[in-house]
Symmetry: D2
Subunit: 440 residues, 4 copies
């Protein structure tokens, strides 16, 4: 490895690992150590420059921290569904059982609620037998829920249940909760490892180039786009509109646009747009409809929120917040459909607008082969990390390498589509739309 | 064939066929004649008894009416999309070209609009080359539209374009339009054959046990139901609701319920239901949620229209009508979601309700193998009928036999699910729901 | 029902049913009785004429024969895999448990072997819990095997295990075994009901228009044909050959040919063909290759067996027999590939021949929606029949009606493609091939 | 970019680009230049160490070399089929036409044969209209062929047809042919750019971490493995064997094993194995069958060639060679099936062995979403490179960056699975098999 001046990224540990790794894992040991990787600007926030970092490479180590025969793992899944959660659960259970022979792995039902007695959810013992087929099904066999729960009560539960390793599969909010739980564990001077596996169908986690389930989601999204195209071309002046996931980041919308070449307009949260005026979206749609007779529009759910807010304000309404504290997104597609219909009526052009919202059909399907392999590695490396006493961290894949990152790093910012990147420009070139729908 | 006293069903002809069928079709001639079939009550209207009929069996005949070398066919597709339209178009074009060597087949763009110069849609010559792959795509390559057009102007167009065979692919409204066009043709004493191929994703055409595209639609519908189940089991007290096609007949909802065994409640137009009261839907949902922790509800779009109308009335609103004159259905799923949320809030039970509306994803996909074969036969028999001078009729499959039926018969009534049939009872048994949600 | 002189088909019963059906099944009772159906020549043997029969309609009856609380069912699956076996198992278990509350249903492992202690296979209790998801997987959870086992030992096992209802899912050989088992039961004057559910991916059971799994098999077969077409058109003078199931009957080959319009030659067991001579297959292939540059050939595995036998004879070899006594089919595709290569080499034409044998990929997949619904009904009606004391019979669907047929009827002959039917002629018309490849 | 001492990789150019890039491409310009990437050992040959290189980053440049209005491109596709070829063709045609407005792009039919008049294949003009849907189909619309053609005659053809840009899509042999063609062009001092897009379903091109179509191939491969598992578990002592692509490199076998967790033994070319002896494959299979009752074996077609050669030698046979000079692989699966059957017969254990060879079904399908996006970028960057006058090079993606590589580099060696890597060890861990089947 050449000598590059690069920032070193280190994760926390519970203490020095002193127990020899189980024999059967010895063949898997490699000279795993640090890895020097260039993190390009695409994975970072727009505006940040790419740079080199030294990461801890994931993998089994000579010595582990926990005695497997006395270890008890817990897995909890939080937030919205995403293809591949069951694959990660399965991988953790199989690795912990077959490779490390840990005493037990239990599943916490319905997210963080499952730790709190007041919800009355039973825990669920996870064995190789009862997880062997779960990757053939979408969703999470553990169930999930949204919303905060007090870290103190969660750590109480971990103590009560004698858990020493906690795997948390969830999004940004869950990774922050993992951090809080770890702080509480540290305060109590307990030896519990907290390892996160970042889950976000929006693919918007900082330092995570591709979150699990994203590839599957794009595959399903293009089925909806194909149908929108069929509908749009099937009617005179047909407009097909597809709403895709993407609260703050338009990755699914962009990638699906590249994959299904029928998209004529794509709208994402990172790129504001105007409806009116000569360079606005509506004038562009008119031109497209008059020229080509049909149009397919893909809208990330978080696009154009300023427009929705303006509209709500005009009607003196507030933007509500969900149980996890995420602002409930304004209905940009509802607004667009209304405005488009109004506009073409004014222009005396009969259009046929068909709207497709495939969201749950995208996120509830089983992982495809690509995501399946990815999830298996994420689960295995999460177990290696935990057994080695690593904590307050996540596993991810960066530039084809699996590495460990501190929770503090991945929760610092949200990854977004860089609208100046050649990637985004390729998306625009694929649709043929102008760089912006802004009048000046 | 035994001697049964059965009603004979005869279709109109333009005159006596005198031209020998092309030689290459001779091997396909069989002793095609009449066929005596028992039409069971399931294919008729609820209340009607099954009975025997004698039908004209579809197929090529010794003599044909039109001279192929002077024949010009037109195909028009009307109404909503449905899997298999392109298969039917392809089959007609191939059969007319390869087997009969007709002079030309042209495609009318965007439904009946395409006949009227004022819309400015060009016609489109259909050749074996340009239709060879179209069955791999959903929708209709000709485009479609809704709404009435004056039969006189359509017949003017047929005259102007020198068409002597018109194939009309469409639903109930289109079959009625076909009838009106035929009346106008007869009035003018012209020799133009009008042959319909009934299209309805709702599977609700009288005397047509299974309309093309239905099997494909059910296959796609179960993907949505599977996702609804995943969502429902993925959250505490999860309710997954899927809206399926079925304006007046719940066939897709019923068949999909049988096919995907996760449905717990199915609601169809034929079976009214109540929300409130001890036997109402809401009380049943509460019991189900408390007992099992989740519930999957499948709703045909035309279910519970009395409830929607009552609600609209309370808010002093009218039910609007679309371009084809079909009443725009009230949003039963919107009403259900609202009422369910209100009810569980009152009951102090936290639920998570996920709603999936897959409609365009169901109707815009290509036909599956089963429908593909069916569409090919429909197209071929439509050509045989037309070349033989049959008119004012449709092709369909009854009890494994392809037969010709008069337009007047299939437009007389709408086929519905018989809620007293063993079929519907099997559907209910599959969900476990009671026979009705009516209080008494 | 009109008065038709029709042959009545009656199945055996163990005795008069005297026990009232469980209350929850009462709503499912309908005026189930006899049904008068025209059985067309397509379902019979070539040569037989269609005629009317009176059948016993399947369904629950007022009185049942067995006391559910004392009933113990067994399910056994025999012969090759077929999509939908797990669906039938699931349906039987669910119906027996939920609707009749039978004491237990057990699964016999690995076909008839599972009854014989010497094989050492354990039985497997089938519960709603352990069968709830099995329809999502292909194959049979019970395992299967081929080959005869002595009926006496099987009835010994039924006695030992206290089974009073035996469901046998299998092909022609299994239905004959069911008959033999029933004869032994009768001889011992025992009260055990034997109910068959005919399984054959070849769709060749007499009086069974469409066996379960056939629709799924065709759907998968066309994927292979599509690939063969891609390969054939992807190389100069490309020939793509696909081997499909069909030992004695070419139904899958024919139906797949209709469904995937790229097939240029289809060869089935029912239609002998010659390789050489001006009207032989090879001369036709040459013409096709020179005219069009590619050719797709679909071969049912049992086609051209006379050619293979002739070839074997010339090499002084014998045709072997498998464990079930079925003659192991000669490798017609091997012979064809050899002869085609030789022939074109002689003709100095370079060809590229790609061979696809998708068999296990076709038969091992889960049932599609259509077959899933069908299997569920088959399972339910099998349970109704058995509980009512019917025996020595099978359940099937004839002309959209589920009926009971004696084992003796369905095992009498094998159903084949009628090469004079309009169906087969439509298949030939789809490929463009001549009616035969016979020189005179 | 930090200062790392890294080897610089430069590609050839025809001369200095002086023509301004078309205006509409200006927004796509970015500060594209060099990129410093760590090439890990996985992408290189086993034994080589990972190291840093400086690559030319792909993308449009300020100045181009060819005047688009006078440019004529040709595309040729060679070798075996692979998912995504049509996507690459489409992307090149669209980019050349819409972005650069090149005068024409023509397609050469059936590989290098298409250049030589003696084969009589016509060329085919490629337009946006006739390529717009081709990505929905597998294979190559241009056809392909194997085998060498004289570079002189090819360059004669390029001259005759006035081609100044040649895109070659093909495998290792094709890239070597591209090199030879370039040498001939240089000798004649012509200005023709030769740009390769490496195609290999085996994923075995040096310096190319993932070749296009690989992801799709793995997705299809797991369907076959799933069926093999169903077959293996469906029979007593069932063995399911799946043959996958991989002449010299077992990437598909390894990745599919990771993706479909039912594989119990995987055999690849990189890891020799023995059949006999206590540590040989056969003894392991026996243990597995006795312990678990079934076994799924995945075999890369190039595995165990030493065993096949030994067997051939014992029978005094030669290993033949195909038209492209590739040795025709010995039939390892045939050998394995024979040896396994013999062995278990000797051991008096009845087994059921089912063999699946899905090869053409894997390689002839359309690209999935992931490969579709990849192919689109490959095509676009190939056009950018060619228009800028780059030549004797290929486009590839390395560590998430698209870069240009000299043909000499990628044809130097063949990429193989490193059997000491943690990747391969994860594959073995997934099957549970020992590191080798070698006795000592």
């Amino acid at each position: 490895m050449p000598n590059i001046k690069a920032k070193k990224i280190v994760v926390d540990t519970l203490g020095e690992p002193k127990i020899p790794i189980p024999d059967q894992l010895r063949p898997l040991l490699s000279e795993v150590g640090e890895v020097n990787l260039y993190v390009s600007e695409e994975i970072l926030e727009p505006g940040e420059k790419g740079r080199y970092y030294v990461f801890e490479e994931a993998g089994p180590k000579e010595k582990i921290y926990f005695d497997p025969s006395k270890s008890k793992c817990a897995i909890v899944t939080c937030g919205g569904l995403c293809p591949g959660i069951n694959d990660v659960i399965r991988s953790i259970v199989m690795e912990a059982h077959h490779q490390y022979k840990v005493a037990a792995t239990i599943g916490i039902k319905y997210g963080l609620q499952g730790f709190l007695p007041k919800y009355g959810h039973n825990v669920y013992e996870l064995t190789p037998e009862n997880v062997s087929n779960i990757h053939e099904f979408g969703g999470t066999i553990l169930g999930s829920s949204r919303g905060h729960q007090p870290p103190e009560e969660i750590v109480d539960a971990l103590e009560r249940m004698n858990i020493n390793i906690l795997f948390m599969i969830g999004g940004d909010g869950t990774m922050k909760a993992a951090s809080a739980i770890w702080q509480e564990i540290k305060k109590r001077q307990m030896k519990i490892s907290v390892v996160g596996i970042p889950k976000t169908i929006d693919n918007d986690i900082y330092f995570v180039p591709r979150s699990f389930g994203f590839d599957t989601a794009v595959s399903k999204a293009i089925e909806a786009i194909r149908c929108a195209h069929t509908e749009a071309t099937g009617a005179p002046n047909g407009i097909g509109m597809v709403k895709l996931m993407g609260r703050e980041s338009g990755f699914i919308a962009c990638e699906a646009t590249l994959a299904q070449k029928d998209v004529n307009v794509v709208l994402i949260p990172e790129q504001p747009f105007e409806l009116d005026g000569p360079k606005g979206l509506l004038a562009y749609l008119k031109k497209r409809i008059l020229d080509r007779g049909h149009c397919v529009i893909v809208v990330a759910e978080g696009a154009g929120q300023d427009l929705v807010r303006k509209e709500l304000k005009q009607n003196n309404k507030e933007i509500p917040v969900d149980a996890s504290g995420n602002p409930i997104l304004g209905d940009i597609c509802g607004l667009l459909r209304e405005k488009i219909k109004e506009y073409f009526q004014e222009q005396n052009i009969n259009i046929t607008l068909k709207f497709i919202d495939p969201s749950y059909i995208i996120r509830s399907v089983p992982a495809n082969a690509n995501d399946g392999v990815y999830c298996q590695f994420l689960g295995q490396y999460a177990v290696h990390a935990a057994m080695a006493g690593k904590t307050n961290m996540v596993v991810t894949k960066l530039m084809e390498k699996y590495v460990y990152l501190p929770l503090s790093l991945v929760t610092k910012k949200r990854r977004k589509v860089n609208t100046n990147s050649s990637y985004y420009k390729a998306v625009l070139a694929s649709t043929g739309q102008p760089h912006t729908f802004i009048n000046d």
